[in-house]
Amino acid sequence: MNARERMIAVLRHEQPDTIPFTIYAGTRKLVGLSIYEPWRKLLDKGLCLFAAESVQAHTVSCPGTSMDVVHHYKTSTSWSPVDILMSMTKPHTVTGSIRTPAGVNTFSAAVESLDLSVMAPWFQDQGFLIKSLEDYAVFTYLAEKAEYQPNYDDIDQFKMIIGNYGIVPAFVPKSPVQAMIMLMGPKQFSLDYYMHRKEFNDLYKVIYKKDLEAYKIAAESPVEVVWGPDNVTSVITSPTIFKEYSLPFYNEVADIIHKHGKIYVVHMDGELKALADLIAQTRIDAIESFTPPPVGNFTIEEARAKWGNKKVIWANFPEPVCLQGERAVRQKTRQMLTSAAPGDDFLMGISEGFPSFLHMLNAVPTILRTINKYGRYPIPTSKPGV
């Protein structure tokens, strides 16, 4: 099996030859994989690519709106045009405004780089897009008036680049409640949920309705997988919130996606134990970035016991383990494989940031080597040693 076939087999509840091990295929990693010899060899040893944050199946526009962004580099440049150019790619802050007939919204954010495929802008406490109830009007307008159009060219190009080394999914907007958390930040989200429920619900309904259009375009696109970047964690999406706001949405879009024969994968990288029963009630096919302890709070065994084989578990390697050295990485990999034995409906991946690029360079080959040695399907159900 090649990497693509191995991933698709698991996502379709079929048996792989080996447990797939995936990394996100962002621009910088793709450059590394094409040039850096030790990494290039990993592709031939079975490393699988998941182009999760790379391509959307749609373009979007919103009539009557405009957005201005100013980049603030402070002192990180000189008289040299080359320094100016290079500074632009370095970490900096941006401030901006979105103008709509319903009002103006201002924001600030820290960005790691101009290459946003590497690091999305991080909105700060005072810079979230929705800072008070007054900002609801702008975002209600933006959601209501957004016009989505299919655009499959980017998908076709990325599929050509990735080839049989992995999968290119359609990257859809966050589900409504997760979008609201990102728009407001956890504090405003929580306060508005308790103190301004009507306005909160009205905005949710508008985003919900518009999201269905984007998900339908993704379901009709030339991909096998639709990937929702939801960052679900019970810490903020409590069971009460999940049941009322997330569950109905997931099931409605899952039916749209399944109608077109596609696989629905959702990124849930937080604490999931309190949500386990509710996640079981969704018609999502795979829980991607499922993060076991010590970062998450729900083990692979517990998840399997709750979900049976109805959900594919796409487990994220918990990155703090890398700080404990190669032996710990090997042990954790074996422990995760044993937890998933015999390995049905199970993938492993790295979907979060590593302590450093160097840690990632060391950990990825170690994990892959360990999986190639101990992760052949079916995995024996013995206790791990090293």
Binding site: A110, W122, Q124, D125, G185, P186, K187, F189, S190, L191, Y193, Y194, M195, S234, V235, I236, S238, P239, I241, K273, A274, P294, V295, E319, P320, C322, L323, E352, G353, F354, P355, S356
Partner: protein
């Protein structure tokens, strides 16, 4: 109504997530000359304990912590405004808090700050992306009992290693208890870098700080 019943009512309204009723009950208690210290110790401090238990039992989550934090912040303001001599306010000592270098996450730090203030700590919040030098300067200047460092990104763990080394090198490690908090933190890491404790969530962090100053 006895003072005990009034105090209980305030506590119940806080834990029951009823902002208006909780603040109303607090104002009514002050109007009846209930000692503000009694409100802090009998209602607020007990409510914080109860909220912690509900959080650990999985009945409260971050939205409830943030909302009860908001209730407590507003209540403390009402109480502070009613105390002519601010020195009468319970003071458990100074805590310096900040998110480690390279990390812009502040929600956990802000919740800890809010509950520490409600408990009677004097909290100096250094914000996010705090360098080792900034932590050291603040310790030297303010001489806190506790330093609390927060992180969400695993990359910040490397910065915390450097911060701990710098505090040791500055010769002030024995002047302050150090607690680490945030998702990637654990006891093994705390021991590895020479911190006194690690808290996996905000409420555990508050409990550890209280234990340190009360022991």
């Amino acid at each position: 109504m006895s003072n005990t019943k009034i105090i209980d009512e305030i506590r119940e309204k806080i834990v029951g997530l009823d902002l208006d009723a909780a603040l109303g009950a607090c104002r009514a208690a002050l109007d009846r000359n209930v000692d503000p210290i009694e409100i802090i110790e009998g209602a607020i401090s007990r409510a914080v304990d109860e909220i912690g238990h509900l959080f650990e039992k999985g009945e409260f989550f971050l939205p409830e912590l943030i909302f009860t934090g908001e209730i407590l912040t507003r209540m403390i303001k009402i109480i502070d405004d009613s105390i002519e001599d601010v020195g009468k306010r319970r003071n458990l000592g100074k805590v310096i808090i900040g998110t480690g270098k390279g990390d812009l996450h502040d929600i956990g730090k802000n919740i800890v700050t809010c509950f520490l203030v409600a408990e009677g700590f004097d909290v100096i919040d250094l914000g996010v992306d705090v360098t080792a030098d900034k932590f050291i300067d603040a310790i030297k200047k303010s001489q806190p009992k506790i330093l609390a460092i927060s992180a969400l990104l695993s990359s910040t763990m490397l910065e915390i290693i450097d911060t701990m080394k710098a505090i040791e090198k500055a010769g002030i490690r024995d002047k302050v208890k150090i607690i680490l908090g945030g998702a990637p933190m654990n006891q093994a890491f705390a021991e590895q870098v020479g911190a006194d404790a690690s808290a996996r969530n905000a409420m555990e962090g508050v409990r550890i700080c209280k234990r340190w100053v009360e022991s």
